[in-house]
Symmetry: C2
Subunit: 466 residues, 2 copies
């Protein structure tokens, strides 16, 4: 046996034993220097990232119980979805291409009114989690009913969630009054205090569906638990007009007048905000969630993204619920954000691939107030990591990985999804959820949804006939 | 043995022997009645569709040598891409998010200037064909150089192509002058006259890159062979302004003044056209190709789609070249068209799922003047058929197949692609192209492209240093 010089220098003095090494791919770190490491590797110990370097350097310093090969792939932070209503996957494609009020009144409200239940939320959240894990989302944000069911399903799937119990000013499936919903939220937040995966919070629906006292009560609740307050902001022109009429203020200014922004909040949509609103949101360090697909499909408008980014606001990306998207694929959200703002601003340099990738990772973490722990691959951060294949015809040739991640990659290219150091999907095989069971349950539940909507249609038909 | 009544009635008198039956899926015909047949089937004999009915009816009337199962899938016409530059896949992701002139002058022109060759066109077209077959495109439209190489590669892949030899007013890789290009086009069109898969034609680049006589010569050539004339129209505001300055007319009106529209033409982009232009294009029955992704990514603008459809124009959908998209996936083009026009028109009812699916199938066939043979599943039409899986989490639940085709389906969901009765991909396995070889050749060729662009960058760097 010949001992070569390189074997001598490579001889490990004392390599640290870790739980996992992901090696051989191009590591897109999204760290402060935006390092992209070709033939890189990530070392994970337990729930935490402990090394992000070249594959050679990691091999010199660490030895792992489990090695994930990432050849021909990108290794990157898991995607962060900053706004949505997971269980609404049960209503995806139920009705499309309708005026907002017709869509809501003939389909979504009747369907929700007749079918929202703990069981629907459980089945829908599991379906959503399956889709999200399969498309590389590791942390998602939710606003819905029976949020304790959402949390249970999310934990079973192994995902991370910022989950907001909805509070809204009219009777809904899980609360007759805002006071009921607040009490429910308080119990929920108490139950999940310090959970390793779930941030349990409260989600006041909007400034136009709640009175001032209820809005302030949600703020107090979020502050009590030190969690982000989730709401919708300035989604439609109507909301802004109505706010001006009722309060002589924009929605953002009205929220400010109530002291609503005096705790960390995340506002979704922000389509119709003024320059003054942007300054105000910046002052209060409100996190923003941009939802380009929903805003386009519902014809709400285009958020002033470039201005918000220029003002230094923390902006994440969201899909919104699948009833208005119709999927939960963050790669599609990235592509759409990049396309939309180039068109609207008539400037092909805005919403660059790197900018939208930031929004889907570290930007989302900033918006949620979790950038110290998530959003990039760096030692000390939690191990939410995805491996994304770059081998398809569609991804060939490969000149720049970040361009390809945004412009030609689909959720289905995600090969492996890891949350908190645990592998949820490996080489497309799901480890925490059984897809056959999840899909079967969802299809069965869909029959009830269909019957509810058809019932409403039949009723409308017969009342016309009379 | 008991003979039941149903067995008696089902006993086939004389079933017709055919080459193939695709059965068990939901058949989305796109015929004049827009029939959607659950548990439907399509019978194909040779190159032609001979039956489109319920699976039971087809089983009663036909017996096939080969049966394709389509359970849990949609069976539909192959997608028709009405505009693009296939070989430009070699430049995809080479540079993005740049102002148009910087992108062209620093990247695309140098790359093309140094690397366009018969070999690059061959390798690029094969890569494009692989991507298109894998994503359900059965007929595509092309405008590029060395179009004879494009035709060869297209035939080898088994696809259908409307392929236009480029004619442009400055020296390019395959022609020093428009006269050279015209002569090349004539030879090309003669060689492929009456080809079962290839419509060989000529593609004058645009009204601003060619003189009047050359434009008229291309028209004469298209008329001589009875094929559609391909060009770009009103893609940017600059084009329209320059046309007004030079000719005191819009691009569409200038073309008309030359008699350019006196033969069947297909105009791509039509972003900046007026109501008068729309009337004029309608009068001359010009086919239109809408390219929403390219128009957004290059910040060109939004074509007046709703107006054109209302005027009765034949509008197809296109991807444009992958350098400005960056993929050739017609499902993405459909989704983008649906989203874009809802936003721009601030109306969620425009560009419905059915409308954009029409554009990608029968509308494209109409625009190309081939609707008598293609674009829908009907007896007597050519057998260009795809089978699209509807089984993913993303596609669950399934309330309306057409909504799902547009809003949640990806090219990768296409399971089987059939052109002219020949199976090109079956259950994701490619039968006419070897993906490993195609990708290897493309990656090798990409090195030359990268070197050419890096050379230009280095040159620019050193001239700055001097």
């Amino acid at each position: 046996m010949t001992v070569t010089a390189s074997a001598l220098t490579a001889a490990p003095a004392a390599r640290r034993r870790v739980s996992m090494i992901i090696t051989g791919g191009t590591v897109v770190t999204m760290d402060a220097q935006r390092r992209v490491i070709e033939s890189g590797a990530v070392a994970i110990d337990g729930t935490t990232i402990v090394g992000v370097e070249t594959a050679d350097a990691i091999a010199r310093n660490f030895v792992a119980r489990d090695t994930v090969r990432a050849d021909g792939a990108v290794v990157m932070p898991g995607l962060i979805n900053t706004h949505g209503h997971a269980a609404m996957v049960m209503y995806r494609g139920l009705a499309d291409d309708l005026a907002l009020m017709e869509w809501l009144q003939k389909y979504i409200f009747p369907a929700e009114g007749k079918t929202v239940s703990p069981e629907l939320v459980r089945v829908g959240t599991r379906l959503a989690a399956l889709e999200m894990i399969q498309s590389g989302t590791t942390l998602y944000t939710d606003m819905y009913y029976f949020e304790d069911e959402v949390a249970k399903a999310t934990k079973q799937a192994g995902m991370r969630g910022v989950l907001g119990q909805s509070v809204i000013g009219f009777p809904v499936a899980d609360a007759k009054t805002p006071a009921d919903a607040l009490a429910r939220a308080d119990r929920f937040m108490e139950a999940y205090r310090n959970d390793p995966l779930i941030v349990a919070t409260v989600a006041p629906h909007s400034m136009y569906t709640l009175d001032a006292a209820s809005l302030q009560a949600t703020r107090d609740l979020a502050r009590k638990y030190g969690v982000p307050l989730l709401t919708h902001l300035a989604e439609t022109e109507t909301e802004v007009k109505d706010s001006q009429a009722a309060h002589q203020m924009s929605p953002a200014a009205y929220f400010e007048s109530l002291g609503f922004w005096d705790t960390h909040a995340v506002a979704a949509h922000f389509v119709h905000i003024s320059d003054e609103d942007i300054a105000l949101l910046r002052k209060h360090e409100v996190g923003l969630s941009h939802n380009p697909e929903s805003n386009m499909k519902l014809a709400s408008g285009a958020a002033p993204l470039a201005k918000c980014l220029k003002a230094g606001l923390a902006v994440g990306l969201g899909t919104d619920g699948a009833a208005s998207n119709n999927d939960l694929d963050m790669f599609e959200a990235m592509r759409q954000a990049a396309f939309l703002h180039k068109l609207v601003d008539r400037d092909p340099t805005v919403a660059s691939a790197e900018t939208v990738l930031e929004m889907a990772t570290i930007g989302g973490a900033r918006a949620l107030g979790m950038a110290d722990k998530l959003g990039s691959l760096e030692p000390g951060k939690l191990a939410d990591v995805i491996v994304v294949s770059m081998q398809s015809a569609r991804q060939t040739p490969l000149y720049h990985p970040i361009s390809h991640l945004v412009y030609v990659t689909r959720g289905d290219d995600v090969r492996t999804t890891i949350v908190n150091g645990r592998v949820l999907m490996r080489d497309r095989r799901m480890l925490t959820l059984d897809p056959a069971v999840v899909l079967r349950e969802a299809r069965a539940m869909a029959k009830a949804v269909k019957a509810a909507v058809d019932g409403v249609a039949a009723q409308a038909q017969s009342s016309v006939a009379r």
